[in-house]
Amino acid sequence: MSTPVATFAIERTAYLDATGRPLGPLPAFAEDAATVTGFYRAMARARAFDEKAIALQRTGRLGTYASSLGQEAVGVGTASAMRPADVLLPSFREHAAQLWRGVTLKELFLYWGGDERGSDFAGPREDFPVCIPVASHFPHAAGVALAMALRGEPRAAVAIAGDGATSKGDFYEALNVVGLWRLPAVFVINNNQWAISVRRRDQTAAATLAQKAIAAGLPGEQVDGNDVIAVHDAVARALARARSGEGGALIECLTYRLGDHTTADDASRYRDDDEVRPHWAEEPVLRTRAFLVSRHAWTKEDEESLLKSCAAEVEAAAEAYLATAPEFKGAIFDHTFAALPDDLARQRAGAVEPSGG
């Protein structure tokens, strides 16, 4: 005899179609043109950074770099839903989110240029640095959220990672404890359909990534990740629940990686331009602009002046980065521990003095 004991449903939310036309009523915040204009400006700024970063890498002045091209709505939609006191734990592709949080362009250039000072953010002092080992920051987010909950603070942790990250045990173990202890942590998946050369459908047989939340007993949902209004809305709703003690959530943002995986990658080895092309018609910057234009909230002049100011800002930051001398080599040692142990002090002395072995 079989009896059903549990049922589940996963929903997908979108507010704008690919051309920026509303699919129905918008959330209240989106009726405020200034809000969406702010999102748009942030996405454009992130894209300007992206272009410059690639250009610097191509000319040997930056290290390997992971472009966020076409995925800016995930970062901006997420970060804009956070409060300053919340903590962001980003993967290596979420420059848009980091910039919104107040990480400076120069800091980003420094980090991707191979300088640790790029992770010493002057702005969001509690935000985590970029996480390279995929999904390993989800457990940190659980810990950050637990600290907030223990202290009774109305704050939350937000971790972002890719579709590939959802295959790691780290993701699952952390999601499970967020569900179990109702921790104020929101996990945002930038499902850009690719993990380097591996397609989303080759990561998991799960029909959605959002349904992975069911395994952890907490809410999971899909949103159109090229729709900055939908992303912001979903993250804001999740954060409101988290702050009021109702626990965390998993949010899958459906988007597309328009560029190579990183500057070290050549996507033409594993995907055709024909596959990529239609996604250009759905990308978030274009779409948001079309929306704003249709609302008479954005003009050609606005656009020109935005592009100009972004370019100038990015250019200045790049120059400031390039003008920053590397640290003194002693820095290799100085932050290993709070105080330099004797054993390491000897090594430092040997390294700093030319005679050292």
């Binding site: 000072r117 509690e126 985590f128 810990g143 637990l146 045990g169 521990f337 004797d342």
Partner: protein
């Protein structure tokens, strides 16, 4: 001043740390109402409540990763891994995060966490419950690796580890948990990290060791003393960062060095100590360095376990051999 076993001293230090500092939180598998499978956290759940003494799901990776998040937020997480044999899923978090959060962010964030785990053989435990792989972690830059060998040092070193501003892995020798009692003052005094302890002075040979093997080394020194051989016994206590000076000063005095550990020989931490002697006290050596260790084999199940352990016989033979030199 109560007479405490090592595990009782650990418990006293944990209780003291929680009393002194609200930021201290304890978590791990079965650390709550059960008080830990070795009772290291016995009574803490009842004293400090379910918020600060937490049973986690069965997820070691998570335990370590959550500790990183808590520590970065200014808490003082003290997490337990039930046995060293189950610590491997935490290594990614230790190597790629805990040990480097400070330097990656040039000091903006830091990771004052403690990860405790019982370890070592000789207690006829099930498979995977008797290994000693401290050397793997002692190789990780940015991590402290601390191993107590007496109730008093367990109390003081654990308090110091919890107060330390950087991550500490704290390995407790299962075999010593209840093997002896000594008076331990629960006075909140830490014992300095990063220092070796000379447990017994001697002029003929230096025996360097840590953890449960300290007992066999002291016993061997007793025996050898009857034959007129004075052995200096050093408890390394903090493997990383290593206090070379104490070891080298002793070897310069005795001219003979035996390193003793339960872990497999090749790549064990004894190699590091032998290397330092070969680098910095070579001229003082009158005899080759010797290592008395576990073998480069998997730790056997209990029936053959005793053949694997560095016994007093093996230690005595090694010292005896060196006495023939010089």
């Amino acid at each position: 001043m109560a007479d405490l076993t090592l595990v009782e001293a650990v418990r006293a230090a944990l209780g003291r740390a929680m009393t002194d500092d609200e930021r201290v939180v304890i978590f791990g598998e079965d650390v709550g109402i059960d008080g830990g499978v070795f009772r290291a956290t016995d009574g803490l759940y009842q004293r400090f409540g379910a918020k600060r003494v937490r049973d986690t799901p069965l997820s070691e990776l998570l335990i370590a990763g959550m500790a990183v998040g808590l520590a970065a937020q200014g808490m003082r997480p003290v997490a337990e891994i039930q046995f060293m044999g189950f610590i491997y899923p935490t290594i990614d978090q230790l190597v790629n995060h805990a040990s480097r959060l400070r330097t990656r962010t040039r000091g903006r964030l830091s990771c004052p966490m403690v990860l405790r785990a019982p370890f070592g053989g000789g207690v006829h435990a099930p498979e995977h419950h008797s290994e000693s792989t401290e050397a793997m972690l002692a190789h990780v830059p940015g991590l402290r690796v601390v191993i107590p060998s007496s109730p008093r040092r367990a109390y003081g070193l654990l308090l110091a580890a919890i107060r330390d501003p950087d991550p500490v892995v704290f390995f407790e020798p299962t075999r010593l948990y209840r093997a002896l009692k000594e008076p331990v003052a629960d006075d909140g005094a830490g014992v300095q990290l990063d220092r070796c302890f000379v447990l017994r002075e001697g002029k003929n040979a230096t025996v360097v060791t840590w953890g449960a093997a300290v007992r066999e080394c002291l016993a061997t020194a007793d025996t050898l003393a009857k034959d007129g051989i004075e052995v200096e016994v050093i408890d390394v206590a903090t493997l990383k960062p290593l206090d070379s000076e104490t070891i080298l000063a002793s070897v310069r005095k005795t001219g003979r060095c035996v390193v003793v550990h339960e872990a497999a020989r090749t790549g064990g931490f004894g190699a590091e100590i032998a290397a330092r002697v070969a680098e910095d006290a070579l001229d003082a050596l009158v005899a080759p360095v010797r290592r008395v260790t576990g073998y480069d084999t998997v730790m056997p199940l209990p029936r053959l376990e005793s053949h694997y352990m560095p016994s007093t016989d093996r230690i005595r033979a090694a010292v005896g051999e060196l006495m023939a030199y010089g």
